[in-house]
Subunit: 192 residues, 2 copies
Amino acid sequence: MARVGLTTERLVRAGAELADEIGFEQVTASELARRFDVKVASLYSHVKNSQDLKTRIALFALAELADRAADAVAGRAGKDALTAFAHAYRDYGREHPGRAAAARLRLDPETAAASAGVRHAQMTRAILRGYDLAEPDQTHAVRLLGSVFHGYVSLETAGGFSHSAPDSEETWTRILDALDALLRNWPAPPTP
Amino acid sequence: MARVGLTTERLVRAGAELADEIGFEQVTASELARRFDVKVASLYSHVKNSQDLKTRIALFALAELADRAADAVAGRAGKDALTAFAHAYRDYGREHPGRAAAARLRLDPETAAASAGVRHAQMTRAILRGYDLAEPDQTHAVRLLGSVFHGYVSLETAGGFSHSAPDSEETWTRILDALDALLRNWPAPPTP
DNA sequence: CCCATTTGCCTAAACGCTTTAGGCAAATGC
DNA sequence: GCATTTGCCTAAAGCGTTTAGGCAAATGGG
C-alpha cells in the first residue's frame, strides 16, 4: 500500500485550505481523508481526534495572521501602524474566511495562553504606544480594538455589509479614522 | 402511546434553554428528543431538519434580544439610550450565552432580511439620532456599534477578558464612554 | 355516542462522521 | 539482510440525521 506521507503539519495545512473552501464548520476528518485519498482511521495517528484537528487549524490560523499583522506594522507607528494592522485583519478575513473563522474558535485557557493569541494582544499594545494611554485605559483600548476587529470581520464575512451603500471598504477606513481620533482623544473617566 | 404535545414553538424554546446549558454548537435533535423523552424521528414533524431547528433558535434569540433592547432604550435618548442598549446586549450574552451564540448564527440573506436583525439595525439608527451624524457617517457608525457589541460579547463569552485586570465590567462602561465621545465628535473624512 | 379522519409519535432502516483495536506491509537502521 | 518501527489498512461499534411507513390517540360530524 502506497504511503501518502501524512503528517500533522500537512493535515493542518490542508484543513486550513479546506476551511477556506467549504467553511471551517464543515471541515471534517472524513472530508480531509477524502482529500488525501486515505481512510479516515489513518488520520488518527496524526491528530488525537476531530477537536484536536480543529484546534490545530485554529492555532495555525492565529499564528499565520499574527505573522501577517507583524509584517504589516513593521516600521510603522501611530495611525499608520493602526491602519496597517487593521487592514491585515480584514484582508485575512476576506482572503481566508475559513481560516479567520478558525482563528475565532474558542480555545481553552491553557491552549489560548500558549497560542499566537498573545502575540496579537502584544502587537495591539505596541500600536497603542503611539497614543498616549496610561493603564488601565490602555487595556480598555486593547479590548475595544480586539472587539472591533473581531466583530467587523465576522459581520462582514456573514454578509452583513454587502448589498448596501456605502461599501464595506469605505466604512472600514472611516472606522479607522474614527478609532484613531478616539485614541488620540481618549476621554477621562467621568467624575461622578 | 402518550402524546407529549410537541410543537415547533416548544422545541425552539427548549432548544434555546438547552443552548444556554450546553452551548449552541452542542444543541442537537437527538439531545432535544431526549429532553422531551421522545424518539428523534418525532421531531421531524415539527422542524424540517437540524439546520432548520438551529435557524429557528437563532431567530428566537434575535427576537428576544431585540425585545429586551427595545425595552431598555424606551424613553431614553443620547448617551443614556446608547448605554442602555449596549448593556442589554452584554447582559443577554452573560445571562444567555447559548442564545447569544445562536443570535450570531450566519443566516442566509432572505432569512436575515425577515428576522429581528432588521429591528436591531433600526434601533441602532434610532439611538444615533441622538447624535449629529449625517449619511453616510450614520451607516458607518451603525456598523461600528454592531461590530463592537458583537465582538465584545463574543470575546467576553470566550473568556478573553477574565482573569485579568481591569475587570470586564469596567472596560465595558469605559468603552461606552469612549463611543459616546466618539459619536459626539465624529471626525470628518480626511481631505487628501 | 360512534365512526372516519387527522394528527402525533412510533419502529425500522439507511447513511455519514467519529473513534478504537488490531493487522500487514513499507520504511528505517543496525 | 533482517529486526524494528512506522504508516496506512480493515473491521466494527457508537452516535446523530433523515426518511418511510404504521398504529393509536385526538377530533369532530352525523
